[in-house]
């Protein structure tokens, strides 16, 4: 899905390098081939990867400079490897919808905001307050105050595609 598999390995590498470069450039404000370490999550994820927060920290440990910045030269080989080896592989969209259906135990087609909050607060990497607020603000249908997750999934998938 990422690149035509018919192409030879060299072209594959160049393609991957270009994609990384493109994503990196968006966050490189001063155009000096460095980005703030806090941007790395957005860069890795916008390249289509689904790392956990812990995996992200591992990446950062590997490439971070002492001053809190990430240099492109160090980031490129690490990130290329990730993409080539297809680590953190994308979770298919239908799985996402299924995940919501699992949470919706009574099969009502929607979730209550506090239900969703409770679920998202679980796991090794629960949502922060900020993430939770932001998610609710875009997921909750204002008139009914409910989360129609099918719509929400569609929105995430469509916006992600662009």
């Amino acid at each position: 899905m990422l690149f035509p598999s018919a192409l030879g390995p060299e072209i594959l590498v160049t393609g991957v390098h270009k994609r990384i470069n493109d994503a990196f450039q968006v966050f490189d404000h001063d155009l000096n081939k460095t980005v703030d370490v806090r941007e790395i999550g957005a860069i890795v994820r916008s390249l289509g990867c689904f790392p956990t927060e812990a995996e992200l920290l591992d990446i950062i440990d590997e490439v971070e400079e002492p001053n809190g910045f990430i240099c492109f030269e160090r980031f490129l080989p690490t990130m290329s490897k990730i993409l080539m080896e297809n680590k953190f592989r994308p979770i298919p969209e239908d799985t996402l919808l299924k995940a919501f259906e699992v949470l919706d135990q009574q099969k009502k087609g929607h979730l209550e905001p506090n239900e969703l909050t409770e679920y998202m607060r679980q796991g090794d990497e629960p949502f922060t307050q900020l993430e939770m607020e932001e998610m609710l603000s875009s997921a909750v249908e204002p008139d009914s105050n409910l989360i129609y997750y099918k719509d929400f999934v569609n929105m995430m998938v469509l916006d992600g595609e662009r």
Binding site: V26, A42, S46, A99, V102
Partner: protein, 675 residues
């Protein structure tokens, strides 16, 4: 449990994508904004060029240009009490003020503006007169102390955003001895309520001259106002006395102090500094008299740096080098205003000269008849010192380089900041001038703060506004806010989507306006005229032609279609324009010219249209065309111009409005083809 983790992962990736879109949207807005400033400077250098050269050759030159550019000096304005002659009708329901101002006056003013009322021209003029009188007594650099009030509040660019100003007052309190303020320039332009913003600020300045300080910004400038909206706004709000009010605004703007210093420790100035900045020198100049000097060769010949996205625009049209603005050698000489020619107004106040620090000099042509000697170096130095503090931006790398991105001022590095602070024993530089997503930004290891107070500057939701407060410890505390016009709060997704949409539209317009250059650029990559180039080639051509330093490959899906084999169908990046443009039956080239030069043309039109009536005479039109046809690279002889003038006055009323004016270009293209 597993389901929850999966959703978390998905959502985090979704947010990352959103963040990416937010970032490039920001880059587009910023690049295009600064490219506009460059165009503006190019245009003004064109005017200087005309002055320096053209006028020598052509006997009618000086006269002609002076007709165009000399501001209308109305003797009526020289009289101290001119405003008293303006009657205020009984039926006027807006605020009435008298001087000296009291708190109830400023309150009624603020409340009236909240209710969308307008201050009567009589009061507006009187307020401006009083402001002018007061500002004349102010030094260039104002000193304040935190010992009189617990805290001083510093606000950045407002750009006519009245809602932001009112929100600041609501959160932080109205200006008073207990709540002193510094407003760091760029009160006007771009926003729709510049008049209200600046009148409120002036009113509080009059009420609390020791607790309210206003620094000048690069938009407190006559020519900037012509381009960026303030002139138009004033003329719309004051149908009868707009001209006089604008004239007074010009005077008052030129009298605004340049910088504020708190406790001899914190320097506050609109743009920043350069490695040449000499505060003692700046303090010694007569600020309102620094004007009509030329852009130094330094600025014109600036070597492009990496960070400078908008290098000089390539004027594809300006084939005639004789009047092209790129000829830097002609821009070196400066002129001093001459006092030889009598002005209609002989009253004591100095001739009302628009002081243009940004290099957008309005040439003062009353003095041209007797060409003055080249200016002494001091004048040039004064001008450069002013431009540097009003136009410069900080950069992360050491050193000081010309700000070719904006076209004026410089970029100063942490070492430059450090040196100046140390020299004066200061510890902090607070500046504005750049929009920041969070409303503020700290750089140069904490030595420089950028503060920007207009929220939603580029687009609804694009950025927060902020102000900063300093107490006696001089530790900055930031307060952020965002004005919301919609009742229902937009979600992040919706905000990003809206901003992205308008940024992309602006970018598509940019592409369209450079259509022919882009097509020329694609040619070497597409020998066989297939209409397809590789993505890399496509991105390279866009960058070479537009020089906006944007992540083109990331933006590609929004700008051009791909063929099944992955190559770019480059003509598709011009598809987006067209339906929105009301230019029926126009050749593509012309549409391109119109889109590209529309702001330049509007500015020129506004300058010619001295009384801002929205109309210019046929004669003025003829003169003007001769002037800038060279600039735009359209060569026409006198006969053709006359024919043109006659042909575009559609309604034969002897004057030309802006639509007709634009139409001239269409006609010219036809003439061009016939030849």
């Amino acid at each position: 449990m597993k389901a929850a983790i999966l959703i978390q992962g998905w959502y985090r990736r979704y947010m990352a994508r959103l963040e990416m879109r937010r970032r490039y949207t920001w880059s587009i807005f910023q690049s295009i904004e600064y490219a506009g400033e460059q165009d503006q400077l190019q245009l003004s250098s064109f005017f200087s060029f005309m002055l320096d050269n053209f006028t020598h050759l052509n006997g009618s030159g000086p006269d002609l240009i002076s007709q165009l550019l000399d501001p209308v000096v109305d003797p009526w304005l020289g009289r101290e009490t001119c405003y008293e002659l303006i009657p205020v009708a009984e039926s006027y329901s807006g605020p009435r003020i008298s001087f000296p101002l009291s708190v109830s006056h400023t309150n009624s003013l603020v409340n009236a503006f909240k209710e969308h009322q307008t201050l009567h021209a009589r009061y507006a003029l009187q307020l401006l007169w009083e402001t002018k009188k007061l500002l004349k007594q102010m030094p260039n650099i104002v000193h304040m102390s935190t010992s009189y009030a617990k805290e001083i509040t510093i606000c950045g660019d407002l750009h006519g955003h009245l809602d932001d100003l009112l929100l600041i007052f609501y959160k932080n309190g109205l200006p008073s001895a207990e709540t002193p303020y510094v407003f760091n320039g760029d009160f006007v332009d771009r926003g729709k309520q510049s008049t209200e913003v600046v009148l409120i600020l002036f009113a509080y300045l009059l009420l609390y001259p020791n607790h309210m300080h206003l620094n000048r910004g690069n938009h407190e400038d006559h020519i900037m106002n012509l381009r960026y909206g303030f002139t138009k706004e004033v003329m719309q709000k004051y149908k009868t006395h707009g001209r006089e009010i604008l004239q007074l605004f010009q005077d008052v703007f030129s009298l605004l102090p340049i910088a504020t210093v708190i406790d001899s420790k914190v320097l506050i100035v609109h743009g920043g500094i350069s490695d040449q900045t000499d505060l003692d020198f700046l303090n010694s100049i007569e600020r309102q008299k620094v004007h009509r000097t030329n852009i130094g060769p330094h600025y014109r010949r600036a070597v492009p740096r990496k960070r400078h996205r908008g290098l000089s625009r390539q004027d594809s049209g300006s084939s005639s080098s004789s009047s092209s603005s790129s000829s830097s050698s002609s821009l070196c000489s400066s002129r001093t205003p001459s006092c030889l020619s009598p002005r209609p107004c002989s009253s004591p106040p100095p001739p009302t000269v628009p002081f243009s620090v940004d290099g957008l000099q309005v040439p003062f042509l009353d003095s041209l008849a007797s060409l003055p000697p080249p200016s002494p170096p001091r004048v040039e130095r004064e001008w450069k010192q002013m431009v540097d503090v009003l136009w410069s931006d900080p950069k992360p790398q050491d050193g000081c380089t010309p700000n070719t991105f904006r076209g004026g001022g410089c970029y100063y590095g942490p070492d430059v900041t450090q040196r100046l602070l140390r020299h004066h024993g200061y510890q902090l530089l607070i500046r504005s001038h750049e929009c920041k997503q969070e409303g503020y930004e700290i750089c140069h290891g904490g030595n420089v703060i950028t503060i920007f107070s207009a929220s939603n500057y580029y687009e609804e939701g694009s950025n927060r506004g902020a102000y900063v407060k300093l107490g006696q410890d001089l530790l900055p505390r930031f307060y952020q806010y965002q004005v919301s016009r919609t009742t229902r709060k937009l979600t992040l997704t919706q905000r990003v989507r809206a901003a992205e949409g308008s940024a992309l539209r602006a970018l598509q317009e940019k592409l369209f306006s450079h259509r022919s250059e882009l097509l020329t650029g694609f040619l070497p990559f597409d020998h066989n005229n297939t209409g397809f180039v590789s993505v890399s080639e496509w991105a390279q051509v866009l960058e070479t032609v537009l020089r906006l330093d944007l992540p083109w490959r990331t933006l590609r899906p929004h700008l051009a279609r791909l063929a099944p084999d992955g190559s770019v169908e480059y003509l598709s990046c011009f598809d987006y324009m067209g339906p929105g443009l009301h230019l029926p039956q126009v050749t593509p080239n012309l549409a391109e010219t119109l889109v590209r030069y529309r702001t330049d043309l509007e500015l020129i039109f506004n300058i010619i249209d001295k009384d801002h009536s929205g109309l210019i005479s046929l004669d003025e039109f003829r003169h003007t065309w001769r002037l800038f046809s060279g600039h735009l690279g359209v060569a026409l002889d006198d006969g053709a111009i006359d024919a043109l003038a006659r042909s575009i006055d559609f309604n034969k009323d002897g004057s030309i409005d802006f639509t007709e004016f634009l139409e001239a270009f269409r006609v010219v293209h036809k003439l061009d083809k016939d030849h």
